[in-house]
Symmetry: C2
Subunit: 373 residues, 2 copies
């Protein structure tokens, strides 16, 4: 199948800095190539990929030191390039959240699929989507769909990770005093304060490995730092990829006491890859990606969370890893996307009276002309 993957231009693919969206696009692209598809990646020039790369911008917006950058204009240029090449693809897969591509592809919406990677409860999204209601959408959790329930949802596909990226630590590297782990930005919506309270109530040590939120450094200094005692509550600063295995792989459990509708939560399946269970607040996609009593617990209060810390020992870390392998591998994710693409192009074939058809040349030509008018 001839597939275009269209990434946002904010980060490199895969990302140099933080960027869950671009990581997933990278995993998916590489796996689709491995499965024998003819894949073209539209992304900024730093991309590392085994697909064909089309880069209309040399650097990702966040990595470009230019003082004045226009995200709208940068994406318009890329989207027009995708459109000019549209006849080369059976499916064009957009990973953009706010529909900027809709006007350019409205004549061929049936050959596109859109995965919004962010939350969808922006007040402007339903009205805008209603203007282009035929665009097939793929959610990353059922919870993510809720504010845009009326959309043309083609599939729900959870993210996946390469199985060999994170593996459980060998027993020789495990041990020491048990601790709870908190990983992520130290922002209000991640609720490190709740993590600290849970640790205190449950009597288990907490290690916080997290970056101070750039938008709100006062939150850490005023509200979290005073609670860090360096003993029961330890702050490690930001950790890098090499430090992640020891930190997550040794933890008794990861705490994710968030209070925002997280549409997926990559860190949850990262912990699971190490065999580490997760105790998460009942928000966003948490109840969907955590199998309660198997890979962790979903809780509604500090008290419940503290009780569940006591139950962690009854979970089988091997089972956590096995569930991760079954539900959250890149291969499963890519196979699901492949099935969605086939569903899409199959439906198109039916509409056109069967037979695998390329988009007609005349249609493509109209599109190219319009792009140059």
């Amino acid at each position: 199948m001839r597939i275009a993957q269209i990434s946002p231009l904010f980060e490199a693919v895969p990302p140099r800095l933080y960027g869950g969206t671009e990581r997933i696009i990278s995993y998916l692209t590489e796996e689709l190539v491995a499965r024998g598809h003819d894949v073209t990646l539209f992304a900024s020039g730093e991309a590392r990929t085994s697909a064909k790369l089309v880069a209309t911008r040399e650097r990702a917006l966040r990595l470009d030191p230019a003082p004045l950058k226009s995200a709208i204009a940068a994406h318009l240029t890329m989207l027009d390039e995708v459109r000019r090449r549209a006849a080369d693809f059976d499916v064009m897969h957009f990973h953009l959240s706010h529909f900027q591509h809709f006007p350019l592809f409205e004549h061929m919406a049936e050959r596109t699929v859109t995965t919004p990677h962010g939350r969808l409860d922006y007040v402007d999204l339903p009205d805008a989507y209603a203007r282009w209601p035929n665009f097939p959408m793929i959610s990353i959790s059922m919870r993510q769909r809720r504010p845009l329930a009326m959309a043309n949802w083609l599939a729900n596909i959870y993210h996946g990770l390469p199985l060999d990226m994170y593996v459980p630590l060998p027993d020789s590297e495990r041990g020491g005093e048990p601790y709870l782990a908190f990983l992520g930005r130290l922002s209000r919506t991640k609720r490190p304060d709740r993590a600290i309270e849970i640790a205190r109530k449950s009597g288990m040590k907490l290690k916080i490995a997290a970056k101070i939120d750039e938008d709100d450094p006062a939150y850490f200094h005023d509200e979290i730092e005073p609670l860090v005692d360096g003993n029961e509550i330890e702050y490690l600063g930001e950790i890098n990829e090499r430090e992640k295995p020891a930190f997550l792989g040794n933890a008794a459990a990861l705490l994710l006491p968030i209070d925002w509708p997280e549409p997926f939560g990559l860190v949850v399946i990262e912990a699971m890859a190490f065999g580490t269970p997760v105790i998460a607040w009942n928000e966003g996609a948490m109840p969907e990606i955590i199998d309660s009593g198997v890979t962790g617990y979903v809780v509604d209060s500090i008290e419940e969370a503290a009780l569940r810390v006591g139950d962690i020992g009854s979970l089988d870390r091997g089972e956590v890893r096995a569930t991760f392998e079954k539900r959250f591998s890149v291969k499963r994710m890519a196979a699901d996307y492949e099935a969605a693409y086939i569903k899409l192009t199959g439906e198109k074939m039916q509409e056109k009276g069967g037979g695998r058809t390329k988009p007609s040349a005349s249609c493509s030509r109209v599109i190219f002309t319009s792009g140059e008018t």
Copy 2:
């Protein structure tokens, strides 16, 4: 003429808070109605206008307390509404800076005109414009065009103000110790530090009426506040519209020692309306809107600025006002836009073989269909 005015959705039209773009759109819209045109304003619901209002968003983005707003989606909705009604207009006038409307109107670019109100030296703009090179553009200064010199520039039209909005103070209200005025945000690019140095070197008092920059309050506190002595250098805080006449109308001159390519600079013509000359740095549109030796001076250094403060007395404040009336009235601005619209639709008539033609119904119908596909 049936004219659509399409405003950005960031501020109300006219603006409740700061917003030069929305002020100009409001003045232009009202004047076009006064001239007998059939005008439809696309803006947020707070708009006050004598034109027909089409509001696809109840509140302007900046005035809406909703926590999650999408500027891209909000504008997509409005732009699709403009497109659905496109057959109702002879000309559609977009006041958007980053080309988000181009894909929706590419089939009828010849009936659109775009005034970008901001600077154009964003690195992404030339590539994006080159994808839609036929869109007729109107600059607000010749300097503004420079980073996008290859665009299809239809006209250059300086902003204008209603003549009765600001008038010179009667002699009875003028007097007191002469002072230089600094008005605007206290940000690095406005260079209040230069204004202070100019005042010191020239021996004339400086009054600063300005808002502390929200993005960089440390700049004021660390670098400007220590220079304010309350006597020779006085800081008045932010002033409101009612306080502007006394502040600007009594000033010996307005200082504008900016170091960024300001594409127009409304405050310059506001000062001129009061008969107050302007001493401005040789940046952006300054040399175009200041008639050197008549309405003020354009300078390249602190020394030159200080010397020019000594020359201010030789300028005729009546002549400053007269030049304002001649060059920067709303009537002149609206007449210029009207001429541009006629040039546009006239050219279209010629292409179509003469005769004033409405856009053909079939063309419009194609557009509506595509909007609903």
